[in-house]
């Protein structure tokens, strides 16, 4: 299943096993660059597993076996020669539960670049400012950069985590239900942010919220029982899905 745009991420016959249980079954898909792709499907269908396989985070789970290929910019990330740390610098990840460090807002954002070798305070200041601006948080925190990140609201903490991920200049952003623990106002801000970020990043987002997938994404992939049922433009998927299963899920007949 492919798109006409420039493909950023491509999976070829991706199979993933947790022990003897098959969690992903022959998933082949082309994810376009500088677009938002939503992964939808009922719980346990493999969408989060698929997301984690895009930056090799599944390898942290014991007894995982992966077959097939995942190509980012044409390079197989499961190749033996791939430096996993380098890969994860290019592919950032954001989760449902924000997890800022118990440090200041500034330190949270500057930590990644610092550990990446940036020492110059002027450069760090500008990285912090630009990351917070891109995460639409700058205006709210610019006078309180030394305040503890834990004093921020849930929505602000989530945007801080997005700023922290952006500070190390990734090319791909993976989001696993980034707004599911937030109130509608904070959710709207995150959705606006996702829409703005796609100019510079390729975004893959897992969501249980059909309206959210329809609002923020350009492409949608529907997973069911570890397999990719349908992939296509969001507008088409939500109006004229090709598969009966997709239609049933989108209209709420199951899931």
């Amino acid at each position: 299943m492919s798109t006409n745009g420039m493909t950023k991420i491509q999976t070829k016959n991706l199979n993933l096993f947790y022990g003897s249980k098959r969690a992903l079954e022959d998933v082949s898909v082309d994810i376009p660059g500088n677009q938002v792709t939503a992964l939808i499907g009922p719980s346990g269908c493999g969408k989060s597993t698929f997301l984690r396989s895009l930056n090799r985070m599944n390898e942290l789970i014991p007894d995982v076996r992966i077959e097939g290929k995942v190509l980012i910019d044409g390079i197989n990330i499961y190749d033996r020669s791939i430096d996993v740390v380098e890969l994860r610098k290019r592919v950032g990840m954001i989760f449902q539960k924000s997890n800022p460090f118990p440090k200041s807002i500034y330190e949270n954002v500057a930590y990644g670049p610092k550990i990446n070798g940036v020492r110059d305070t002027t450069t760090l200041d500008s990285v912090v400012e630009s990351s917070l601006k891109r995460a639409a948080l700058w205006e709210e925190v610019k006078d309180d950069l030394r305040k503890s990140a834990l004093a921020l609201s849930g929505g602000q903490q989530q945007r801080l985590c997005i700023a922290r991920a952006l500070a190390v200049d990734p090319k791909v952003l993976l989001m696993d239900e980034p707004a599911s623990a937030l109130d509608p106002i904070a959710t709207a801000k995150i959705e606006e942010l996702i829409y703005e970020l796609k100019d510079n990043y390729t975004i893959v987002i897992v969501t249980h919220n059909m309206q959210q997938a329809a609002r923020v994404s350009d492409f949608t992939a529907f997973f069911y029982m570890g397999g990719l049922v349908e992939f296509g433009e969001t507008k088409r998927m939500f109006t004229t899905p090709e598969e009966k299963q997709t239609e049933d899920y989108i209209t709420g007949r199951f899931g």
């Binding site: 989060s48 930056n55 985070m57 942290l60 740390v85 994860r88 610098k89 990644g112 550990i115």
Partner: protein
Amino acid sequence: MELGYHIYIMSTQSTNVDATKGIQYTTTLTLLGLTFLLNFSAIFLRSRIRGRRA
């Protein structure tokens, strides 16, 4: 540098930060061990070279 970044990723980008705590502590221990080893090696070499010159 890579070990430091690995700890950073494990603490910020892991689905379950608690589950990767073991990896984080082990990596930290390895990083500290390497730092001390390099420092002690440097101290040892310096004292040997100084001893020869004296």
